[in-house]
């Protein structure tokens, strides 16, 4: 056990260091793409195999693996310890499994990039940090991972840092996350202040002590609410919820495998993991739960309405991720933590598949772009289109050719069949078509929201309805993305002679595996009427597992449960069919957006402007901070702080200038001082 956990953790770290240092100091090493990529992939694949071994040998008893004491000071004793239980095993399986596939995919996707070694070093470091996060036994080690994934996210968003836009996106992600991290820290301080000194022995913020009923009893209702909300604010930063979701869409500036791994499958779900891990605590703060559910629901619908208006394929997926994360928080808020984790898992499968599929599409479209440039259609090699008007081509939108814009795509199914099928499966999965994975997890979330409403919490019905509307929107915008990309006719210039090709096997194999998981992944969480949820049994374990759940007095009648199941099916299928056959994005192309515009009227503008959240933050947060820095703090620094420092120096100088007069340089004056000193001492001796 000890060795296995050590290996799981140390392999990604060691290979990150190896690839990073070799790449940094041995320029010849950077050319060995297969070696770098192979080692990087193995560093995640081997931990995956080891985790599977742990998982198969797991008997329902949580185990804590101690390595060493990190710090000890008075009542605080932080251990470097890791926890193997149902929850951390599920998360580790997802992180290493999906992570290994994405590493494999990156071998092909990053081919030819000058920062190949750097990419794999960062990616492995990310896996290490993420494993720290999900395996940690105490809050501080978890926080170490929490910050680690934030750092890697920053490094990878700004991977192509020569473009200022990417660096700005990286900074945005980092700074917005700081707000959440600050709340996380405060929550830890509050917990430490409440608990320390009241338990046997030193307290190390460890989950075993913290989540024991007697420890939780130490908290007052107000303190619990504060702690739960602070952790939730921390989670809104990392998991991109209102109000801190703005960084995630911009984070798409990073390479696509990064979007798939960090900004869809793993890191952004760490907020959910945190809430699930602390579920016994959060459950005791019902007000916090309500807030979490409502924020989640609002985020879900807000991001879904934005996603329907976006043209950049990765941005659609980014907003879709925000929306699905909203679903998960909705689930957490209605007390269905195990469903949140279930949705984390299924979402990791289909969203990673979608992102990797979009990466494959972008890969193909880049090929088209290069070919068009070569033929002179795009006026590259320093010649702009104005200088060479004869060669300029009509694009379906204003501006430059953009390999990520769905308006230039269309008809890709002929050129990239594997990508198309996997993308279609993942699209249907996220839309919630049975028996694909998304249907079961999403349906369970909605059912849990309904169940809570049924048990007398009327606000939960409101959340449930928002969830239903979001489900329709999800089906529509994802079908739109699929149709615009793969169906219809090609819309890029010179489409008759310029054709993209299917991606290499390293990229398609992960797609196929993830698509397969998107198909079967849902069966671990069947609804009660269809035989009961395996993952519920595993995680909750009749109240002995790591994930707590509220007690419901009333059970929803079986008939209603069946009804809700069919309602979910109808909504998902209705959305997909509506987008496919009524709005017809496939045959009409981007033109079809006008139908949506007409339907939403003036609201459409609000959606496509992303509710102007960035602008509002710019106006009410960023500008005031910058202005007050310029107008108050800069003068304060220059006059008060610098003044104090310079003043002390001037004072010393002034005193010294006067004192130096004593030093006349005449030896006899010194001698006189000496003699006078002797006389004084003698006088004191004789008189005293």
């Amino acid at each position: 056990m000890h060795t296995t956990v050590l290996l799981i953790l140390i392999l990604p770290l060691a290979l990150a260091a190896f690839n990073g240092l070799m790449g940094l100091f041995v320029p010849a090493y950077r050319k060995n793409e297969w070696l770098i990529g192979g080692l990087g992939t193995l560093a995640v694949a081997i931990p995956f195999v080891l985790t599977v071994k742990l998982f198969l040998g797991f008997h329902g008893e949580a185990e804590v693996v101690h390595f060493f004491t990190w710090m000890a000071a008075g009542d605080l004793q932080i251990e470097f310890a890791y926890r193997i239980d149902q929850l951390s095993l599920v998360m580790t399986l997802v992180v290493t499994g999906v992570g290994a596939l994405i590493h494999l995919y990156s071998i092909g996707y990053m081919h030819g990039d000058s920062g190949y070694w750097r990419f794999f070093a960062y990616l492995n470091l990310f896996i290490f940090a993420m494993l720290n996060l999900v395996l940690a036994e105490n809050l501080l080690v978890l926080f170490l991972g929490w910050e680690g994934v934030g750092l890697c996210s920053y490094l990878l968003i700004g991977f192509w840092y020569t473009d200022l836009k990417n660096s700005a996106a990286a900074n945005k992600a980092f700074i917005v996350n700081r707000i959440g991290d600050f709340a996380f820290l405060l929550a830890m301080f509050v917990i430490f202040a409440v608990v320390t000194g009241k338990t046997d022995g030193a307290f190390g913020l460890d989950f075993t002590t913290l989540l024991a009923p007697e420890t939780l009893g130490l908290f007052g209702a107000g303190t619990l609410l504060a702690v739960a909300l602070l952790f939730f604010v921390g989670a809104t930063g990392k998991s991109a919820q209102i109000p801190l979701f703005v960084w995630l869409p911009d984070a798409m500036a990073g390479p696509t495998p990064v979007s798939a791994l960090i900004h869809a499958a793993t890191m952004v779900t760490s907020g959910l993991y945190l809430l699930a891990r602390l579920s016994p605590m959060v459950l005791m703060a019902p007000t916090a739960m309500t807030i979490i559910a409502i924020v989640g629901a609002l985020t879900a619908i807000m991001a879904a309405t934005i996603a329907i208006t976006q043209n950049d394929i990765k941005r659609v997926l980014a907003y879709s991720t925000v929306s699905q994360l909203g679903y998960m928080f909705l689930a957490a808020g209605v007390g269905a933590y195990f469903v949140a984790i279930f949705h984390v898992m299924t979402h990791a499968f289909f969203k990673a598949c979608l992102f990797l599929g979009s990466g494959s599409v972008i890969h193909g479209m880049h090929e088209v772009e290069h070919e068009l440039e070569h033929k002179g259609f795009l006026g590259s090699h320093g010649k702009s289109e104005e200088e060479d008007p004869l060669m300029a081509v009509e694009l379906p939108y204003e501006g430059k050719f953009d390999a990520q814009d769905m308006r230039t795509m269309g008809g890709l199914k002929r050129f990239m069949p594997l990508t198309r099928w996997t993308f279609l499966i993942a699209t249907l999965a996220i839309a919630g078509i049975p028996p694909l994975a998304g249907f079961f997890s999403k349906d369970e979330i909605l059912f849990k929201a309904f169940e809570l409403g049924y048990n007398g919490h009327v606000w939960s019905y409101f959340v449930w309805i928002i969830g239903l509307v979001t489900a329709v929107l999800t089906a529509i915008y994802m079908t739109r993305a699929y149709l615009l990309t793969f169906e219809g006719t090609p819309r890029w210039p010179d489409a008759m002679d310029t054709k993209p090709h299917e991606s290499p096997w390293t990229m398609t194999v992960p797609l196929v595996v993830l698509a397969a998981l998107s198909v079967v992944g849902g069966f671990v969480g069947l609804p009660a009427v269809l035989g009961g949820s395996e993952i519920h049994h595993f995680l909750v374990h009749d109240g002995h597992g790591p994930v707590a759940e509220p007690h419901h007095e009333f059970h929803v009648p079986v008939a209603i449960e069946w009804g809700l199941l069919f309602l979910g099916l109808a909504i998902a299928a209705g959305g997909v069919l509506f987008a496919w056959f009524v709005i017809r994005w496939g045959s009409r192309g981007p033109e079809a957006d006008t139908s949506v515009k007409r339907f939403f009227g003036p609201l459409y503008g609000t959606f496509s402007r992303k509710y102007s959240v960035d602008e509002i933050y710019q106006k009410w947060v960023v500008n005031p901070v910058v202005n007050s820095a310029r107008k108050i703090f800069a003068p304060f620094d220059e006059s008060a702080v610098d003044g104090a420092v310079n003043g002390v120096a001037k004072l010393v100088q002034g005193i010294a200038l006067r004192l130096r007069g004593i030093q006349t340089g005449v030896v006899q004056h010194y001698a006189l001082a000496l003699v006078l000193g002797v006389v004084v001492v003698l006088a004191l001796m004789l008189l005293g």
Binding site: Q663, T664, G665, V666, V667, Q668, L672
Partner: protein, 101 residues
């Protein structure tokens, strides 16, 4: 006849004070130097007087030490004064104020 210890000590004190005043008041570096020698010898006189009165030779041994150190000091001191004179063309200590702050 034996003179009382007080007489020796008084002479020593007078000589010492003359030396001190010479160091403090005279401007010529060579005279200051002579005054320092005078102080040393005043101290020697006191040492010898004590030695004779108490019958302890240690005092006289110490005098020899003082004499040899004084000889060495004379050699170094005169060299310094010569060097100073070469630099400044004067032995007036009022005009030598290299230490001024």
């Amino acid at each position: 006849m034996e003179l009382a210890l007080n007489w020796y000590l008084s002479l020593s004190a007078v000589l010492f004070v003359i030396g001190v005043l010479g160091v403090l008041l005279r401007r010529n570096a060579i005279v200051i130097f002579l005054s320092i020698e005078l102080m040393l010898n005043a101290a020697n006189l006191a040492l010898v007087a004590f030695s004779q009165t108490f019958g302890d030779v240690n005092g006289q041994v110490l005098v020899f030490f003082v004499m040899s150190v004084a000889a060495a000091e004379v050699a170094v001191g005169l060299a310094i004064i010569i060097a100073l004179f070469r630099n400044k063309e004067t032995v007036n200590v009022n005009e030598i104020n290299l230490f001024r702050g």
